[in-house]
């Protein structure tokens, strides 16, 4: 499993990753539209930098902002891929959650399902597709780094094996006591994500709710989906049983002498 670790304290907000993402994925120009969320992400912008003001007392080195790079989290158990009725969004063995536009039918259930609100729609086009970060899937399967981590001048965002990066993150937290919040964001949330953060400010605002919990979202529907065959057969059996009982009773009422005979 490949992963990205972003150290929020190291980011200088230079937007180099944003620009590299655009050129690596050949994304066209982006005119502000009414339907975009105000977080910099759009169908043509797969990563963005969110500046968050620091409280004066917590700001270190006199900095007044922290820059948080927003991108697809590439969940280990992605809600979007589980929701997609045709499997257009799916997870690759490297951990990247990628999109097959040939399968997509445009139901936008993935956009509803994502707890981070990442997938964006190409609303402008009469032939629209779902767009999001694909962890530079082609590049990483060739053994290269994603474009964003490659260009980062301060190595605030780095790429590697997930296990190694989690270890690295914990080491950084340990060796800089008090600098970071003692938590690797993305290690356990919704079953773990491939895009990890360590930070000195809380990163809850990246999701729709502050405490996401560790239960993978596909499990929520899995229980209901598991009971589908049971419900199907059960309802059939119940209805047939009901029908049989009622039919028998009415037959007995009509012909009380010979109840076993069928009409």
């Amino acid at each position: 499993m490949k992963a990205i670790l972003t150290d929020v304290t190291k980011c200088i907000g230079c937007l180099e990753c944003v620009s590299a993402c655009k050129s690596a994925n050949r994304l066209p120009m982006d005119i502000p539209r009414l339907w975009q969320k105000n977080d910099g992400l759009s169908a043509y912008n797969w990563t963005s930098i969110l500046p968050k003001p620091l409280l004066p007392e917590t700001g270190n080195g006199g900095q007044r902002f922290r820059y948080i790079r927003k991108q697809c989290r590439h969940c280990l158990e992605p809600a979007c891929a589980s929701a997609c009725p045709v499997g257009a969004l799916h997870q690759t063995t490297l951990g990247a959650v990628v999109y097959d536009s040939d399968k997509c039918l445009g139901c936008r259930y993935c956009m509803m399902a994502c707890p981070y609100g990442i997938p964006r729609y190409d609303w402008e086009s009469p032939v629209p597709y779902v767009r999001k970060c694909i962890l530079c899937f082609e590049r990483i399967s060739e053994g290269k780094e994603p474009a964003c981590t490659e260009v980062c001048p301060t190595k605030a965002t780095i790429f590697g094996e997930r296990e190694a990066l989690i270890q690295e993150a914990h080491e950084r937290i340990k060796s800089n006591q008090g600098k970071y919040i003692n938590k690797v964001f993305g290690e356990h949330e919704v079953g773990g994500t491939s895009v990890l953060y360590i930070s000195d400010i809380d990163l809850d605002f990246l999701a729709y709710k502050s405490n996401l919990g560790t239960r993978p979202l596909p499990q929520t529907t899995a229980a209901a989906m598991k009971s589908v065959p049971v419900a199907f057969v059960g309802m059939g059996a119940f209805m047939y049983g009901l029908h049989w009982i009622i039919k028998r009773r009415s037959e007995r009422q009509e012909n009380p002498e010979k109840p076993e005979e069928k009409v």
């Binding site: 937007l15 339907w35 009725p85 045709v86 964006r120 529907t221 059939g236």
Partner: protein
Amino acid sequence: MNRVQAAKSILWVVVGFAAAVGITRMIYGLGATTNLNDATPWGLWIGFDVMAGVALAAGGFVITAIVYIMKREEFRPIVKPAVLTAFLGYIAVIISLLFDLGLPWNIWHMLIFWNPHSPLFEVGWCVMLYTTVLLLEFSPVPLEASSRYAKIRTFLLRFRFPLVMLGIMLSTLHQSSLGSLFLIMPYKSYPLWYSDILPILFFISAVALGLMMITLESLVTSHLYRRQVETELLSKLARASVWVLSIYVLTKLTEIVIAGESSLIFNGSWESILFIVEITIGVLAPIVIFSIPQFRRSQKWLWAGSVMVVFGMVFNRINVGGLTMMGITGDSYFPSWMEISISAGVVSAAVLVFFFAVERFHVWETPPRHPEAEPTSRPRFDRVSQVWLGAPSVAGRTKYSLAFLFSFAVAVAIVPGNEIQSKGAVTVPTMPARGGDTLFIDGNRDLYGVAFKHEMHISQNGQKQSCVLCHHMNIPMDKQSGCYRCHKSMYQESDAFGHQWHSSPRGGNIACVQCHEDGRERTAASAKKCDNCHRDLLPDGARIKHERNIAPSYVDAMHRLCVDCHKEKALTLEGKGDLARCARCHETVPPEYMSPGAPLLGNRPYFNRVMMPGAESLLKADD
């Protein structure tokens, strides 16, 4: 005109209007026609047409269960209309879905690409299968019309019981799975509507809604066709619905209490108001009304009760489907008039087909008198072709086709022609040239216009031949098109620079001429050098001479051009190699460089809006 004709005329008007809007939707896409956005990707078409539509069509499986499974033969007269309503309901759902799906021509993909983990996959399959089942259940009725189809008809009738069973089983699945759809959004859904037993709640409420939809459908058609209302039957349905609604409300409230969310009901938030309205009107009030026997037998109260249940349950589906998520996503979606008219059009078309079927086929025990049947029918004279056509086979086709035609044309007329082509971008306001040549165009839509020199544009673009480049007599393009339609390079070349950040409503407010030399082409070549504004680009005493100081952006300059230069220089200048590392400088960057007002990053969309000085004076100067 009798009631049916009046109703049909209105429906044709709605259908005509929706037809034009539907074509617009298919040509220009979702962004141009709906208010859907990245925060609210599901809107009216899912909440009302699909979610509520499927629930409203639940009457089909409920009534077949009552008659064929429970053998309550007295309900047989209302089976056919209820099955017809359900069938048309499902067709309407599928047609609405074709409008809602981004790639509607791929709707069949669910047949070959499977993802059995997805509740939507299951819903899709069940809807497809159940629509087929409904078609087979209903088709003996139209097949009755001719003896030619007698064999097929008896064949179908032989399979009626298995079909009914299959229909009930499929309905159980997808009525509940529509609830399962939302299980995956525990973080978006409001707790009052989110629960692990959402599928069960959806199923029970669908049964209640099915009963009341049969009632309402019967009442409406009885009113229109002046038929005898089957009050006795309907009151029995109403009594049954009391039980179902009670089970529903008890399950729901118990679940809320167990989950510890009961305090949310009365906390006065708008979600709590939605919840109270939904439960009171849709469930509690009908329970009270229908538990009183006199009220159950009164037509007036049957109307009131069934309308309340239908409203409440539709409201419930809309609440679950997204209305109550808005507090969490922070978006305020309201459907556009185009979305509303397509929804209305699809429903109207379904109702028209219903009318057609009941007039043509043996749906009711006592078929209605044909509403178009005029005893004094005369052969029709066609004024245009000047011939006699005889009595028309479908009377009223003149009237209805005219209703369709005119409302279609009106819809075409009010579809915002050019705005729709600009797709989501706000139209460009212009101020006409005041007696002179200069026109003010607010290309960035931020109340700051820039002067547009007409004469100059004509002379640069090839004199008289150039008019048509901007002005198109049919569409007032010159009022609508932004500067970027021609000046494309400013976005393409300077993407990393973020031209829109420097000039957009969300960032800075620089008028073109503040950076681009007046009178020259507006490209990167004619732009001012970055350090013209960003004076702190080069610290005092810097020895660097930027020969190529036409960098499209500061960011670019820092991270492409300058750094490259430094790298180059590092080869020749001893000990200066370190300069090529950003982190070396940024360790020592003074804090004010990172402040919101600072020119360094101050005009990014996420920061406070900083009004650029000189924008107002520029407006005046060009006057």
